[in-house]
């Protein structure tokens, strides 16, 4: 293809993307097909990758194909292994794809599909993909160092400390919020609880298969596990219909919370690898399969979106979570557009596998585009539901009322008609007792996914199977996030306390393991318990907290990136990271301020505490809610303060370097010529 033909092809693609975006934005009062969202996303990603990531790679980062990567220089066959770029891409995507891009867009759909979809596309292209790409490359040039190490070396000791606290905080809040999603998805659901319970014997069987019968054949054992899980889902319907067995698996939210807290502690403190490792593989298998299946389903079935582009809740009065589009849509979507957590993966395993420097573009930038596409699919899954159904599932009892008739009447009065009878029929169709007040995003996503698939694959008859498949997929995956996160948090606490007392730093010393596991589980468990007991559903306060901490971690990552860029003498290209950094600072600081000081009790933690304190009844329960509100406000304030410190320290450093008062010293590994280039030429 010659230059002119290529240019025309790209121009055509740009026009197609612009047409799709205008179709999304300008349709009013009528349904649009989900394929417009897919088309707009694909065109935007193609253009972003072809032009913007190429600009960043060439002008800002000057990717060098001649420079040996740590995977080549330090190749040890264990963690440093030069690997094919497509394989690293798959590995990196599997590591960054989590529940965030599924849950966030579902919750943000309360504003309509338009704000979410625009931020997912724009945020990914100009912020999320850039963050993942530059952090990956900078880590590759520093022998695969972690974000905390880079922050300490490039910004200063304070930077390293702030990164450490931010990472630990996000882990704690993430685990609390993630556990709450599982609780809300499984409460009063014998079918769901049974399926998840069955993953324990299935994982043990997989463990025996892979360790004894066919050593190392993980793919085979995962396939076997997947078939057994599908059988468990299929069999779950009889459990839920049995008047004898169903009560055994019908658990309330507090009971589920206690069980999950005990599970988290056991997974961190006890040697239960025979269970955890196979289940980890199983959840990855199911996750990748489900994402692929959902993508294929949307493209094949082309469902219509029933949610309007914008709802009345852009004014901040939303029932799912309170707060206006700015800043709360951006905090809520989080991972689908930019996730601070990705910077940990980009400076963790992945840089140790990169074979050639130019491949960081496809792995870092490209994998985040794929993650963003998952968020687009989650938006579609939420928006194919009738808005009344969506709000009935996602609105807490504290906002719409406990009784189905009252909740349906409240939601209908907002202009989104729904009846208690319709919701009852839907609950029956998916094999649940009720779908009212199922906050957290997971049940709405599951209903949306079941709706998409049941319209062709098996029809209404298997809608319950699809629903429980989606619930199982989310719960199983979140539980592996919980046990892995608890262990990582435990190691972080042990590493830090090891500076004070050497025995505590020994990761194999059982007293230390028990104490530090209890600390980390106690921390996220208290957030979970708070969410379970919250009359507003918990997600209203926990998800924004998670979003704020996640985006603050991205702020830290972009501070590190900007500092390195300025030290590299590329200050004129620093807006590539500086603009998303400024945007994130505006979003996170505004959101933090609202969550702390907004006078609306549904938004501000302190206003809610004041409202409770002024009520006539002052029970133990109310005192605890007041304490929780103040704790949430304190955590938000602490995170904001710490990130303000790292921003200040970074900004001072930039000024000193740019004004010539300080020598720009970067800590890159010295250049070594790659042997792969010669091999390729030869």
């Amino acid at each position: 293809m010659n230059g002119l033909t290529k240019a025309l092809a790209w121009l055509l693609l740009a026009m197609l993307g612009a047409f799709a975006l205008s179709a999304i934005a300008l349709h009013r009062g009528e349904q649009i097909n989900a394929m417009w969202l897919v088309l707009a996303a694909v065109c935007t990603y193609a253009l972003g990758y072809r032009f913007y990531s190429k600009f960043v790679a060439a002008k800002l980062l000057s990717l060098d194909a001649q420079r040996a990567t740590p995977a080549e220089r330090l190749d040890n066959g264990r963690d440093f292994v030069p690997t094919n770029k497509w394989v690293v891409f798959g590995h990196h995507f599997a590591a960054i794809a989590g529940p965030g891009p599924l849950v966030g867009p579902v919750l943000a759909a309360q504003f309509g599909y338009l704000p979410g979809i625009l931020w997912i596309l724009i945020g990914a292209i100009f912020a999320g993909c850039v963050q993942d790409f530059v952090i990956l490359l900078f880590s590759v040039r520093r022998d695969g160092k972690s974000l905390t190490e880079m922050a300490r070396e490039e910004i200063g000791r304070l930077g390293g400390f702030v990164a450490y606290v931010a990472i630990l905080s996000i882990i704690v809040i993430l685990l609390g919020a993630a556990a709450l999603i599982v609780v809300n998805a499984l409460k009063s659901s014998p079918w769901g609880v049974f399926t998840i319970a069955m993953t324990i014997p299935i994982a043990l069987l997989m463990g025996i298969y892979v360790r004894r019968l066919r050593p190392g054949k993980v793919l085979e054992s995962s396939l076997l596990g997947f078939v057994l899980v599908m059988l468990a889902i299929w069999g779950g319907q009889w459990i839920s219909q049995s008047s004898v067995v169903a009560p055994w698996f019908t658990w309330t939210a507090p009971v589920l919370a206690i069980v999950i807290i005990i599970y988290g502690f056991a997974a961190s403190a006890l040697p239960v690898w025979l269970l955890l490792a196979p289940r980890d593989y199983l959840s990855t298998f199911v996750k990748l399969g489900t994402i692929a299946m959902l993508a294929a389903g949307i493209v094949a079935l082309r469902p219509a979106l029933h949610m309007p582009p914008l709802t009345r809740f852009v004014d901040g009065s939303g029932p799912v979570f309170a707060g206006k589009i700015f800043p709360f849509a951006f905090i809520t979507i989080a991972c689908g557009a930019i996730s601070g957590f990705h910077s940990l993966i980009s400076s963790g395993t992945t840089p140790k596998m990169i074979r050639r420097e130019p491949e960081t573009r496809m792995v870092g930038y490209g994998a985040m585009m794929a993650e963003s596409m998952v968020a687009v699919m989650a938006t579609i899954a939420a928006c194919v539901l009738q808005p009344g159904t969506y709000f009935a599932i996602n609105s807490p009892a504290g906002v719409v009322g406990q009784a189905p008739e009252a909740a349906a009447a409240t939601i209908s009065s907002w202009g989104f008609p729904v009846t208690a009878g319709e919701m009852h029929a839907l609950a029956q169709a998916v094999g649940e007792q009720t779908l009212f007040n199922r906050t957290g995003g997971a049940p709405a996503f599951a209903v949306g996914m079941a709706h998409i698939f049941s319209s062709s694959l098996g029809g209404q008859a298997v809608m319950a199977i699809w629903y429980h498949f989606a619930i199982m997929f989310e719960a199983l995956f979140i539980l592996t996030v919980l046990d892995a996160g608890t262990r990582v948090g435990r190691f972080m606490i042990q590493d830090a306390l090891g500076h004070i007392s050497r025995p505590i730093g020994r990761t194999s010393w059982y007293p230390s393991i028990f104490v530090t596991s209890a600390l980390i589980v106690g921390a996220w468990g208290s957030f979970l318990w708070q969410g379970v007991k919250d009359p507003l559903g918990g997600i209203n306060s926990l998800w924004p907290l998670f979003g704020i901490s996640n985006q603050l971690l991205a702020t830290v990552a972009l501070c590190v990136a900007t500092t390195i860029i300025i030290k590299m003498g590329k200050a004129r290209f620093s807006p590539v990271t500086l603009v998303p950094l400024a945007w994130l600072v505006a979003v996170t600081f505004t959101a933090s301020w609202h969550k702390m000081f907004d006078p609306n009790p549904r938004i501000g933690f302190l206003a809610h505490a004041r409202q409770l304190a002024s009520s006539a009844v002052r029970s133990h329960e109310v005192s605890r809610l007041i304490f929780n509100d103040r704790l949430d406000a304190a955590v938000t304030g602490l995170l904001m303060f710490l990130v303000a410190l790292i921003l200040l320290e970074s900004a001072l450093l930039w000024v000193r370097v740019l004004s010539g008062h300080r020598t720009a010293e970067i800590r890159e590994t010295p250049f070594v010529m790659t042997r792969f280039a010669a091999e390729e030429q030869g």
């Binding site: 989590g98 793919l219 690898w273 990855t284 989080a334 940990l344 262990r487 990582v488």
Partner: protein, 86 residues
């Protein structure tokens, strides 16, 4: 094509992208086979089968329950500190 160490023996990248279609193997079939090989390699890397193969080669052990137990012990120490993304 270079001898790409595709996660060690992960593969095997067996298909060369020739511009000249071979008899019985039209170009699109070759492309499909190449894509399938890459997908399988990625799956083997994600599910640690390649890491196990590298372990066997490095330690010069044959695959057995004992070898796999030794691999798990080494691998889990590395894996335990990896966060799971949100």
């Amino acid at each position: 094509m270079s001898k790409a160490r595709v996660g060690a023996d992960v593969l095997v990248c067996p298909v060369e992208r020739s511009s000249v279609p071979r008899r019985g193997h039209p170009r699109h079939t070759a492309w499909l086979r190449h894509a399938a090989a890459i997908l399988l390699s990625a799956a083997r890397e994600i599910f640690d089968e390649s890491a196990y193969a590298r372990f066997l080669r490095r330690t010069q052990m044959a695959s057995s329950p004992d070898a796999y137990a030794a691999f798990r012990q080494e691998h889990e120490a590395l894996k335990a500190r990896r966060p799971r993304c949100c």
